[in-house]
């Protein structure tokens, strides 16, 4: 293991100080003189034709400067693929989910905008709605989009090998129905944006976006302006987790259009209830899973039939349904696989991406089914996973699944051994099993997640490294830190590669007028791909510095060493000068030189075919093994989660503090979606629309968490890194449900596993002590 100066050190986050003193500015903190406030008016029906929109009364309210409705966007719609651009900024002919936006007001203050919205009159023709995805797919259901008369938003049919034959030859086959919950990202910072449409033909926006460049393209298309005239200036982001902040929402388009009409900057901020009822959420999916094994517990085949609840528009659905299916062939060897998936349109708010995108559904189903088969076969749960786990490929080799996913490192076996050896699992039989009404159980899981995601469209990251004359460094990238700590890691990569000190690196937040384009934060790609770009840019700048030193010292450039803030000729290490001095030498050479390094990511892009399921969307894959200990109150069903042990193969932890924090946070989100979160919906209406009733964990709900780094040093990541952001949100739900099984003897197949569901199940099995 190489000794690094910066990489692998427990350094403070680069933006920690701003955050603790309250100086970090988020979108809602931005304002401009003369700014107006925007409010979106929404439809009272889940499915209705819009007959007439009358904004005249709203326009008359003193202080109102502009009012818009769907028609003002001139027929613009957007979507993830060219063939799925079905979503308008505001509904035009039809409303397809309850509270879909239909109009918006800009006024001198927010309360005036709110009052004016009340006066907008819309005539609707209410239509019958359909809310359940399986029902939506049936003949005779209300049609939500004319271009998809059978309500099928996305449909895939994949087949690898021969599952029928493999099942026929299996010793045991199980078929189960699983369902994942209706859950949402749950970020604390609501979507907000401040926009100014300059009449000379440019737009400047300060939006809460973790993929600002997606929004940049949406605005260019919507307002028919060249990309060079769209300026997204990124504030700090208060949490992303995918979905909404990777996409655009009604408010984002409305503030720009209202600014265009009113000639003033316009701002919107969604209240939390608006977030919980209208913003993108994770797809909830029904998974009919069939799994076969030999008598020794070796996987023979899996057949998955998945129905995804897509909500009213397509959004990123095509990718979701691909990701949901692609990972069933890993992290356990699978020779035969069939996947049939439908994403159904329903009159619900739009389902989109969320952390652990796609994998959370099928890795849950498969891991639990594996546990059930282990029980039936009488095989130890760790043993069965070890028998099937893919081995870590030898250096220079790679493993390829039957659907074309390949990876060069796989630390699953090491991760499983690690958690199995920790006290939580190893000593579980010696730990207390019962205490009063509480029954304790320990569960285990072994899962995977994709890193360095690359799919369609522009996927490259760019970076520039600018050396200032005083030896400090500006790192300029289009990458977005939405809180996960990527700014810190990129600065560390730049420092390590350059040989400069971490404290001397300053990273500039995204400003699309200056920073290179970047897809943003999703698919755990920033450390890997923006990291590679940063590394290359730093190397480029370093080369220029080495040239300058070489000339000054009369040595060959490759004789120059730059490390930890010092430069010296390799043969004479005591002749060292500071990085600052080196910068001066380089910058003041001749008439003055500008030391600027540039790089862009270039990890090989493979083809993915969503329709056949073949191909590879990730640069590398992480592997996570986890144990969970919890206590179930057998009378009330209430669950106390006491401990997590998480062994995560993230290649190499570049910033150990962030890696731990991401694993901890992802695990708690996974815990939350496995046992607390669920939207209670009725005909498109959300009953629980506040943080009181959409339950996410508080400080008193979380277990003690131990994170173990499994190091596999992947060749396709800067300094060996792989993703470390999403693994634990995939590993936690199956481990938690396995633990509940250990405590209660019941296998739960529908998330979330609430106290009430536990009591009902115990009663059904005659096990309820009450």
């Amino acid at each position: 293991m190489e000794e690094y100066s910066v990489i692998g050190k427990r350094l403070p986050r680069i933006d920690a100080k701003e955050k603790v003193i309250g100086q970090a500015k988020y979108a809602a903190d931005c304002s401009l003189p003369g700014m107006l406030w925007c409010k979106v008016a929404r439809a009272p029906y889940a499915h209705a034709r819009i007959l007439h929109v009358d904004t005249s009364a709203a326009l008359k309210v003193p202080g109102v400067k502009a009012v818009i409705s769907g028609k003002d966007f001139g027929g613009y719609t957007w979507g993830f693929m060219a063939t799925t651009r079905d979503e308008p900024p505001l509904a035009v002919d039809k409303v397809r989910y309850l509270y879909e936006g239909v109009a918006a007001v800009a006024a001198i203050d927010e309360e005036t905008a709110e009052e004016a919205c009340e006066l907008i009159k819309v005539e609707y023709e209410e239509l019958p709605g359909v809310f359940d995805p399986e029902e939506a797919l049936r003949e005779g259901s209300p049609v939500i989009h004319d271009y998809r008369p059978n309500n099928v938003s996305v449909e895939y049919h994949w087949s690898f090998g021969d599952v029928e034959k493999a099942f026929a030859e299996s010793y045991i086959v199980r078929e189960d129905r699983f369902e994942t919950g209706k859950v949402i990202t749950g970020f604390l910072e609501p979507p907000a944006s401040l926009a100014y449409y300059d009449p000379s033909g440019s737009i400047t926006v300060w939006p809460a976006k973790q993929s600002p460049y997606f929004h940049y393209r949406h605005l260019a298309a919507c307002f028919r302006l060249p990309l060079s005239k769209i300026r997204i200036i990124q504030p700090f982001i208060g949490g992303g987790f995918g979905g909404t902040k990777n996409d655009s929402v009604a408010g984002d388009f409305c503030v720009v259009m209202l600014s265009k009409k009113a000639g003033k900057p316009v701002k919107y901020v969604y209240p939390m209830e608006e977030v919980l009822t209208t913003c993108r959420r994770r797809h909830n999916m029904i998974i009919y899973n069939k799994m076969g094994m030999t008598k020794e517990g070796i996987l023979t085949a899996v057949e998955s039939r998945v129905i995804g609840n897509g909500g009213a528009y397509t959004a990123i659905g095509p990718l979701t349904m691909y990701l949901t299916g692609c990972a069933t062939t890993m992290p356990y060897r699978l020779p035969h696989y069939k996947y049939d998936a439908w994403r159904a349109f329903t009159n619900n708010p739009v389902s989109a991406a969320m952390r652990g995108h796609g994998f959370t559904h099928t890795r849950f189903a498969c891991d639990i089914q594996m546990g059930m088969l282990a029980e039936e076969l009488g095989i130890d749960p760790v043993e069965i996973k070890m028998r099937n786990a893919i081995d870590n490929p030898k250096r220079g080799e790679e493993y390829r699944t039957i659907n074309g996913i390949s990876f060069k490192t796989c630390g699953l076996k090491e991760a499983l051994k690690s958690v199995a050896g920790e006290r939580l699992w190893a000593d579980k039989d010696r730990m207390e099993k019962e205490k009063g009404p509480i029954s304790y159980g320990v569960g285990i899981s072994g899962t995977t997640y994709q890193g360095g995601a690359r799919q369609l469209g522009h996927q490259s990251c760019g970076a520039m490294v600018r050396i200032c004359e005083d030896g400090t460094v500006n790192l300029i990238t289009g990458a977005t830190d939405c809180g996960q700590g990527s700014d810190t890691v990129l600065a560390m990569i730049a420092a390590e590669e350059l040989g400069a000190r971490y404290e001397d690196i300053s990273i500039k937040r995204v400003d699309s007028a200056y920073t290179p384009v970047d897809p943003g934060s999703y698919g755990s790609r920033v450390t890997l791909l923006a990291g590679q770009a940063t590394q290359l840019a730093a190397r480029d700048a370093k080369k220029q510095l080495m040239q300058a030193a070489a000339s000054a010292w009369g040595v060959a450039p490759d004789e120059v060493e730059i490390k930890s803030g010092f430069a010296y000729p390799k043969s004479k290490p005591d002749k060292r000068i500071s990085f600052e001095k080196l910068a001066k030498i380089a910058c003041y050479e001749g008439s003055g030189a500008v030391i600027l390094g540039r790089g862009h990511s270039s990890y090989g892009l493979e083809e993915i075919d969503f329709n056949t399921g073949t191909g590879n969307g990730g640069t590398s894959y992480s592997f996570t093994a986890q144990t969970v200990r919890l206590g179930v109150d057998m009378e009330t069903g209430k669950v106390d989660v006491t401990d997590f042990t998480i062994a995560h193969d993230g290649g190499m932890p570049l910033h150990p503090v962030s890696v731990e924090s991401q694993n901890e946070g992802g695990a708690v989100q996974g815990q939350s979606q496995a046992m607390y979160e669920q939207f209670i919906m009725e005909k498109g209406f959300t009953h629980n629309r506040t943080l009181l009733d959409y339950k996410m964990p508080r400080s008193t709900d979380v277990p003690d968490i131990k994170v173990i780094d499994i190091i596999t040093d992947d060749p396709d990541g800067p300094f060996g890194a792989k993703e470390a952001s999403e693994g634990s949100i995939v590993s936690t739900p199956p481990a938690l449900v396995d633990a509940i099984h250990a405590a209660t003897g019941v296998w739960f197949k529908e998330l979330p596993v609430t106290p009430e569901k536990i009591v009902r199940a115990l009663k059904e099995k005659g096990k309820w002590p009450g």
Binding site: K39, V40, A41, R42, A43, P44, Y99, E110, E111, E114, C117, E118, L119, I120, K121, V122, V269, Y270, P271, E273, E274, T277, E635, T636, K638, D640, Y676, I680, H687, N688, L691, L692, D693, K695, P697, R698, S699, T700, D701, T754, P755, E756, V759, R760, G770
Partner: protein
């Protein structure tokens, strides 16, 4: 036209200096005026447009309403005494620890620093955490209106979800809790999915005066399982004057279920709430009557 409000609606703010001024104002303005104490219930309701007000009448300038005091026979909790004040009061901790238990599971430190017990009962949410304990302690509510003062027993105070006997022109001044004998014991158990910030799915308070395994007085208060917080008198009479055994406790707990009429809502089903009334009442009774409680 549905929209999601972020700002409060326009209203006028009034800050009377005496109770009489407050009463005169609300008498004069009827439904248009709303009383403000901690604001932790009123402000969200105003924001959500669940409640309308042209005048918000802040009681906090009125002196003498924020104390927790004793006159030897009862403890008086003033209208403006915050949940934190109640939880920290040496008097309440010593003589009415059941109420400290209730206070400590309400919302958050931030809300407890502003919200009040009087406000909690006046908002009359069926799951109000202060209510079961106050019922078990047989508290009384002091109301003042243009016609004078009246005292209402807590078990007659609530009339339905979010409705009480407090008239349009009355102000609730204080909750008076008779001091129980020193040998009494009580407990408040709150069942909720998480460990913080939830409304009670079931809230059970038990308070009893016991001597040598026989209880001369047992009071059971139940929250979140009926349109209002309620007592469980049949269960209580089953236990009074009898030697307490686990079987008797179990029987009483089963009887408590019959006192309840919970609804199916998005927080819990009727079946679950009824089952939990049995479980939590049995636990509360066990703690207080069999194990010595607090």
């Amino acid at each position: 036209m549905p929209l999601f409000y972020r700002r409060l609606p326009r209203f006028e703010y009034v800050s009377p200096g005496t109770v009489d001024e407050a009463i005169a104002f609300i008498s004069g303005h009827g439904e248009d005026a709303k009383l403000l104490a901690g604001g932790t219930d009123l402000v969200p309701q105003l924001k959500g447009r669940e409640v309308k007000a042209r005048y918000v009448v802040d009681l906090k300038a009125i002196p003498g309403l924020d104390a927790v005091s004793s006159n030897g026979t009862s403890v008086t909790i003033g209208a403006l005494a915050t949940i934190s004040t109640i939880a920290r009061s040496p008097l309440v901790n010593e003589r009415l620890p059941l109420l400290v238990q209730a206070a400590s599971v309400m919302a958050s430190p931030q809300v407890r620093n502003r919200g009040t017990f009087v406000g909690n009962i006046c908002s009359a949410v069926p799951s109000a955490d202060s209510a079961p304990g106050l019922l078990a302690l047989e508290a009384r509510v002091h109301l003042l209106g243009p016609g004078g003062e009246r005292i209402v027993a807590i078990d007659r105070f609530f009339t339905g979800p979010r409705t009480t006997v407090v008239a349009r022109d009355e102000v609730a001044l204080a909750i008076e809790v008779p001091l129980p004998p020193a040998v009494s014991r009580g407990v408040y158990l709150k069942l909720s999915p998480r460990h913080s910030m939830d409304l009670a799915v079931v809230g059970v308070a038990v308070h009893a005066v016991c001597d040598n395994g026989v209880c001369t007085r047992v009071r059971i208060g139940l929250g979140a399982v009926a349109p209002t917080p309620v007592r469980a008198p049949v269960a209580e009479s089953l236990l009074e004057g009898r030697a307490i055994t686990p079987e008797l406790v179990d029987e009483a707990a089963r009887h408590s279920v019959t006192q309840c009429s919970p609804i199916d809502d998005h927080r819990a089903s009727q079946e679950y709430r009824c089952d939990m009334v049995y479980v939590m009442t049995r636990r509360a009774l066990t703690q207080v009557l069999l194990e010595g409680g607090k």
